[in-house]
Amino acid sequence: MSTGAKEELRRTSGSGTDLWNVVQPPTIWAVHFLISYLAAAILCARADRTAPLDPVFWTVMTATAVALMLIALVVLRLWRVEKFSTVDEDLEFERNTPEERHRFLAHVSLMLSVLSAVGVLYVAMPVLLIDTCR
């Protein structure tokens, strides 16, 4: 493969973002949500209504810490992709090049990371306020 062809391959498929990267942050949110919900549902289905939620509290807190860390890792990687930008600094992403597609998906993914982190924090809140299965 010639250098030019290799370069072309890198541009169209290489280091950057594709659709799988974009769905990573919301998937982290979804897994965090499921863990939180299932932990509470399983504990409370077996226990009576006054049972303390401590195990659920710690599960949700651990899951929240892990989820936020994973989202941070995604953000870190996306930050590098955005730095590859060689074109204008607006947020329109309207050029027809593979790099611009990388930048665009990186921006979408970055913003989704913010939304997912907010979602994770929201979902963690109930265990701060509620301490039994009531």
Partner: protein, 840 residues
């Protein structure tokens, strides 16, 4: 791309000959054969018209409700009829209008929006349409025989398992059948967006409608299957007395609520997003500028798509779940307001930055935003559990859901119909009638539903067929009913505008709204070929940015300007950057799709009446029709390996594996199928959580021996199928056939072994929910493996007859992909039924 010297497209004679060939290839069939058409422009039009037909039917039911409730103690309909009327009103509006209209409009418009000739699987679209029509007529027709479902549109057991009549069966089987059509459409549309974008349309240049379709298609794959699993359990209970929802035998009615709402809440967004997508196409046109914040729309649509799955329990706040569970869902329900709000703000920003032109579509769009914001705000209120405790099952909820559906779906949709009518018919709708119908409907709608917030807060419950006088509800109900009459008038004006005969005066000129997106390159009236030539895309608004676009398009200077071989063709491109990778031959008119749909419809309809012998006969007929269809119409060998598609690009005519559309269709279908399957282990573990000992200590079977044997045999069948694909690829055809034969034998033995466990232990599925759920898992897996055996046989037959060769091996790739999913299904099934009792 201006005319170069020596470009053959300079020759007008050649262009005329090309146009003649294209017209002939893409011509719609004449006479009665018109109904055998599969082209997206015909099927999409029928689909849209049929959905609207059901909408008007359901709307009349809504008017009956309002007439009955206009005055206290009214006797227009009996309580029993009223139950059928409101159940069918909700059911038809949701399942026969709101969801199918997305598929209908997308099938109609998506190829144009992507500048493609057609979607990759036209016959699948047609099949889906006929399924929808049959299932819809069956469900709606039931009310004329006093047999309609009457337990509310979400069919809660035990009311619906104990209640007599076949209404619930009609609901379950009729709608399961329509869900098949929905999933078929989702497969078609996802593959369409991912693989049929025109060359150059990188993901960041894809029209927002394409993004929304992709996201909604993905949501359908994860939302509809749990309902199919739920329908399966429910129908087993109704038909064979398997006690999934019966607490006296270990079942739990709440399981249905979970499965229903895991579908039901995402469905709200499945309805809402495609309609907002229409706004995303219209707003830039009338603001005369590109959409502001394209990537913000994409991110919020994806965000909504995910968060939409974390909300289902907010329909179940009053079922007695622990407060902490309600908290999780309440939090997610509040969070989803963020991405929803972003989309609204992007539209407002686009309008503020542009110079807005007044038009009928814009009027409807503005009405949509106003109504939707009101509905969204009451949604934020209802997401707060303590508020919902008060308002639950009251008319406040009725008001809320109608505000979201009218603002989030109905108004944008009508705006879209005014906007896109020329693309479907070549005519314009009337500006005067559009304004009249808008104001009638806008005023009528608000007069109907605004008072319902109040009547709900005053305590009027949903689904009551009447109410006593002098408890403060008379005036509000009368007002609502008067509003409904005005809204109905608005619908009639709209319907008249759409249906009235149109003459030359109504003819649309080309690109009548001066839009920038690629669908407006179409000739007016649109030509049968869909696209004169498939454009090379350089920007998001090619008609605004490229002055030569229309000339190049008309003169065939883009891709595929001809149909030399007299075949219907479209271009397949790569997922991310839309590099052309294949020239795909798409099939033409066919009767087999209609036959297959009718036979499959017969399976579901006959099963409703418990005519099982006839059901099985129809099932065999449907299978035969589908096999005939795939054998004669798919994976055909092209007459040459590659083709020049113009602009110096030559691409293959045949692809297999992950680059082909067929492989993606199989992958997406099986993803949906897997989601449905997951509903069954979910049920198993749901019962485990609610019971002190599950599996019950005294439960016999299925033991671990037979599940282990079954697992080994079935994983062996999977390995054999996979090997067959690899062997075939290396040209070792004899070994491949042997491997397939071993796979078939091993799979058949595996089915027997899987059933042997519960069978030899005498597990009676009607006795308790434990044997019932084990049998349900066995039944589901066995049926799927049986389909896998048919596929193996299909490949074996293909190899023997020369249809499947080492070069043309698409079927083998797809079947082996199916078996990868089978391996997972089998693994989960045997681990759950055989392994879990050992550790529980």
């Amino acid at each position: 791309m201006a005319a170069m010297s020596g470009d053959p497209q300079d020759d007008p004679e050649l262009r005329r000959a090309q146009e003649k060939r294209l017209s002939e290839v893409w011509a719609q069939p004449q006479g009665w054969r018109y109904w055998t058409a599969v082209n997206n422009s015909e099927v999409g039009l029928w689909y849209t018209a049929t959905s609207f037909g059901f909408m008007f039917f359901a709307g009349v039911l809504g008017l009956i409700i309002r007439a009955q409730l206009a005055v206290p103690d009214a006797g227009l309909v009996s309580a029993e009829t009223y139950n059928q009327v409101f159940t069918l009103h909700g059911t038809a509006m949701m399942f026969l209008f709101a969801v199918p209209i997305f598929e209908a409009v997308a099938i109609l418009l998506l190829p144009a929006i992507l500048g493609a000739r057609d979607l990759p699987f036209p016959r699948l679209s047609a099949f889906g349409y006929w399924c929808f029509l049959i299932g819809g007529l069956f469900v709606t027709g039931s009310i004329f025989f006093d047999a309609a479902p009457s337990g509310g549109w979400f069919m809660y057991p035990p009311l619906t398992t104990k209640y007599g009549g076949i209404g619930a069966d009609i609901w379950l089987l009729g709608l399961s059948f329509i869900e098949v059509a929905s999933i078929a459409a989702a497969v078609e549309l996802i593959v369409g967006v991912l693989k049929c974008r025109p060359p150059g349309m990188h993901l960041n240049l894809t029209p927002l409608y394409g993004w929304y379709v992709l996201i909604v298609g993905g949501m359908i794959l994860f939302a509809f299957p749990p309902l199919i699993a739920g329908d399966f359990l429910f129908e087993m209970e109704r038909a064979f007395d398997w006690p999934f929802f019966d607490p006296t035998r270990g079942g739990d009615p709440l399981l249905w609520q979970h499965l229903f709402w895991i579908f039901g809440h995402p469905e709200v967004y499945i309805i809402f997003l495609p309609s907002i997508a229409l706004l995303a196409m219209m707003v830039p046109t009338f603001a005369k500028r590109p959409v502001a914040g394209y990537s913000f729309i994409v991110l919020s649509a994806i965000g909504t798509g995910f968060l939409g799955f974390g909300l289902w329990v907010h329909h179940m706040y009053t079922t007695g779940l622990p407060a902490v569970s309600l908290g999780f869902f309440s939090a997610a329900s509040e969070a989803v307001a963020i991405p929803t709000g972003i989309q609204i703000f992007v539209f407002i920003a686009t309008l503020m930055l542009g110079r807005v032109e007044r038009s009928v579509p814009m009027l409807w769009s503005m009405g949509a935003l106003a109504i939707f914001v009101a509905g969204g705000l009451t949604g934020v209120m209802l997401a707060i559990a303590p508020f919902d405790f008060q308002a639950h099952d009251s008319y406040f909820v009725v008001a809320h859901l109608h505000y979201t559906l009218f603002g989030g779906m109905m108004f944008p949709l009508i705006a879209g119909i005014y906007y896109y009518y020329p693309i479907a018919t070549g005519k314009m709708l009337s500006r005067r009638l559009g304004i009249w119908s808008f104001w009638l409907l806008f005023v009528g709608f608000n007069v109907t539903f605004l008072p319902m917030h109040l009547s709900g807060l005053l305590g009027m419950p949903r689904r009551v067929f009447t109410y006593p006088a002098d408890i403060g509800l008379d005036g509000l109900n009368m007002l609502s009913s008067a509003g409904a009459a005005i809204a109905a008038l608005g619908f009639l004006v709209f319907a008249w505008d759409v249906l009235r005969p149109k003459g030359e005066a109504d003819a649309a000129e080309r690109n009548p709204w001066n839009a920038g997106t690629v669908e407006w390159q179409l000739e007016m009236p649109p030509a049968p070929w869909g696209a004169r030539s498939v454009p090379k895309i350089e920007s998001r608004y090619p008609l605004w940015d490229d002055a030569d676009h229309l000339r190049n398009y008309d003169e065939g200077r883009f891709y595929l300007p001809d149909a030399e071989e007299m075949q219907r063709e479209t271009i397949v491109t790569s997922v991310l950057d839309a590099e052309p990778i294949q020239c795909l031959r798409v099939p033409g008119p066919a009767i087999v799709t209609i036959v297959a749909a009718f036979l499959l419809g017969a399976v579901f309809i006959l099963a409703t009446f418990e005519l099982y012998a006839a059901t099985i006969a129809a099932g065999i007929g449907a299978l035969a029709a589908i096999l005939y269809w795939t054998w004669t119409g798919t994976a055909l060998h092209p007459e040459k390996p590659a083709k020049d598609i113009g602009l110096g690009v030559t691409v293959p005519l045949y692809l297999s594996g992950p680059r082909s559309t067929g492989w993606w269709a199989m992958f997406i279908t099986m993803l949906g199928d897997l989601t449905a399957f997951v509903g069954l282990p979910f049920g198993y573990f749901f019962f485990w959580t609610i019971h002190e000992n599950f599996p019950p200590a005294d439960a016999a079977g299925p033991g671990w021996v037979w599940p282990l044997v079954a697992g080994l045999l079935l994983l062996g069948a999977w390995t054999a199928t996979w090997s067959a694909r690899l062997l075939n690829g290396r040209g070792r055809v004899a070994a491949m056939r042997l491997s397939l034969a071993i796979g078939m034998a091993s799979a058949s033995a595996g089915i027997a072994a899987l059933a042997a466990g519960p069978w030899w232990h005498g597990m009676d599925p009607t006795a308790h929910v434990y044997p019932a759920i084990v049998w349900a898992l066995v039944l589901w897996t066995s049926l799927h493996v049986a389909v896998g055996v048919i596929m193996q046989a299909y490949c074996l037959a293909g190899s023997v007859t020369g249809k499947l060769t080492p070069r043309y091996d698409m079927d083998m790739w797809n079947v082996s992909l199916y078996w990868h999913f089978m391996a997972f299904t089998v693994l989960v099934t045997v681990l759950v039924i055989g392994g879990f009792p050992l550790v529980a």
